[in-house]
């Protein structure tokens, strides 16, 4: 089975292309929003099962961000938490049966190609690039907010030629961060999809099971890595110099 490196377009609304990964993105958002609304409708002092589950995750990550960002944790936390929840839900959702296998055949440039209806959304560079861009923009926005324009600019530009050179290197590093964040996530998940499809192509029973376990772990790790990196970048960049 062939997996396209780009997400396939399954339809159009006006001129707006609907890709299979965009469809799943909407589904992921819907699932998470529904869970949030359902569990927040009845918050009790003594938590029930769903509230317990959310409390466990939220408290753990909130403590983590407090440890790294101290007083700024309250501002960073929603971003960091949402990155984690969105990515891990998307990754695990992409492992469900039907992803990459349910679809339709389409004649494309004279060839008949299979177009899957559902696609693991982080196996689409659009998603990961968007996430990385949000992470980067938010990081710099918070840095500006906490440092002020003058100190923020001083991070990159200096009259001292050595520091100026280092600053410019770091400026380039900011773009590298964008690329590394997006391609790490994309590469891991996309590779996982290919591995699963290949193994399933060889023998579809039992044999893919260890790889599914592996992908579950990879899905968690990638979500955690994205979250941690964003948190650390935010904390580092908004840190006052000489601190």
């Amino acid at each position: 089975m062939d997996i396209e490196i780009a997400a396939e377009t399954i339809g159009h609304i006006g001129s707006f292309p609907i890709t299979n990964s965009l469809l799943v993105t909407l589904a992921t958002t819907g699932i998470l929003s529904a869970l949030a609304v359902i569990s927040s409708r009845k918050i009790t002092p003594i938590p029930s099962s769903l509230q317990n589950f959310w409390e466990f995750i939220i408290e753990a990550i909130y403590n983590l961000s407090e440890e790294i960002a101290h007083s700024r944790a309250k501002i960073f936390f929603p971003f960091v938490m949402t990155f984690f929840l969105f990515i891990i839900t998307a990754n695990w959702l992409g492992l469900l049966p039907g992803f990459g296998t349910v679809g339709f055949k389409e004649v494309h440039e004279g060839k008949q190609v299979f177009v899957p209806l559902l696609r693991s959304i982080n196996a689409d560079l659009n998603t990961t690039l968007a996430l990385a861009a949000i992470s980067a923009v938010a990081t710099h926005f918070f840095a500006l907010k906490y440092l002020g324009i003058w100190q923020y600019l001083k991070k990159w530009f200096s009259l001292n030629p050595i520091f100026l050179f280092v600053g410019i290197l770091e400026l380039v590093g900011e773009f590298t961060k964008l690329i590394s964040l997006s391609f790490r996530l994309f590469g891991n998940i996309f590779a996982g999809e290919i591995v699963l499809a290949t193994i399933a192509g060889i023998f579809a029973f039992v044999v893919p099971l260890p790889f599914y376990f592996l992908e579950i772990i990879v899905g968690f790790i990638q979500a955690a890595v994205f979250m941690m990196l964003t948190l650390v970048f935010m904390a580092l960049l908004s840190e006052k110099p000489g601190h």
Partner: protein, 169 residues
């Protein structure tokens, strides 16, 4: 630049899709923040406050309990001390009363003994007199029988005189 565009195109990156993803994520961020993080964090904070408050209360209760038990102990000790003194006083007063009663009884007994002795003495003297009188009568009767005549006043006197004389000689 064109190389980057080419690469991005190869990966299927389209500005519209990128923007769609960004908008979607920000929407999700807003929803989760509003409906999940805020209430859960609030609940966690409230629970923390409650636990802190409860711990403080528990400490206070323990302190108060300790004070109460100390107070009780103090009261008990005081009461037992009082009881001891009361018992001591009662014992000494009882001893005194007993001693007094003893003394009085002894006095009474000795008085009674004395009185009875006196009365005994009187009785004995009276008895003696009576016996004496009767004996004289008896002697007279015996003499009458012996002498064969009634002893008159005169005889009596003579007899007495005789006997006295005999006694004197």
């Amino acid at each position: 630049m064109t190389l980057i565009m080419e690469i991005l195109n190869e990966f299927g990156v389209k500005p519209v899709l990128l923007i769609a993803q960004v908008v979607n994520f920000l929407l999700l961020l807003f929803i989760l923040k509003r409906f999940l993080y805020k209430p859960i964090l609030k609940a966690l904070e409230q629970r923390k406050q409650k636990i802190v408050q409860s711990l403080k209360n528990a400490e206070e209760i323990e302190k108060r309990l300790e004070a109460v038990s100390k107070e009780r102990e103090e009261a008990l000790r005081k009461a037992s001390k009082e009881a001891e003194t009361i018992i001591g006083e009662a014992t000494t007063s009882a001893d005194r009363i007993i001693a007094q009663a003893h003394e009085k009884a002894q006095k009474d007994i000795s008085k009674m003994i004395e009185r009875s002795q006196q009365s005994l003495k009187l009785e004995r003297e009276k008895l003696y007199q009576d016996i004496k009188g009767e004996l004289a009568g008896l002697v007279m009767v015996a003499l009458e029988k012996v002498t064969g005549k009634v002893v008159t006043e005169k005889d009596q006197k003579e007899l007495i005189k005789k006997s006295i004389k005999q006694l004197e000689s």
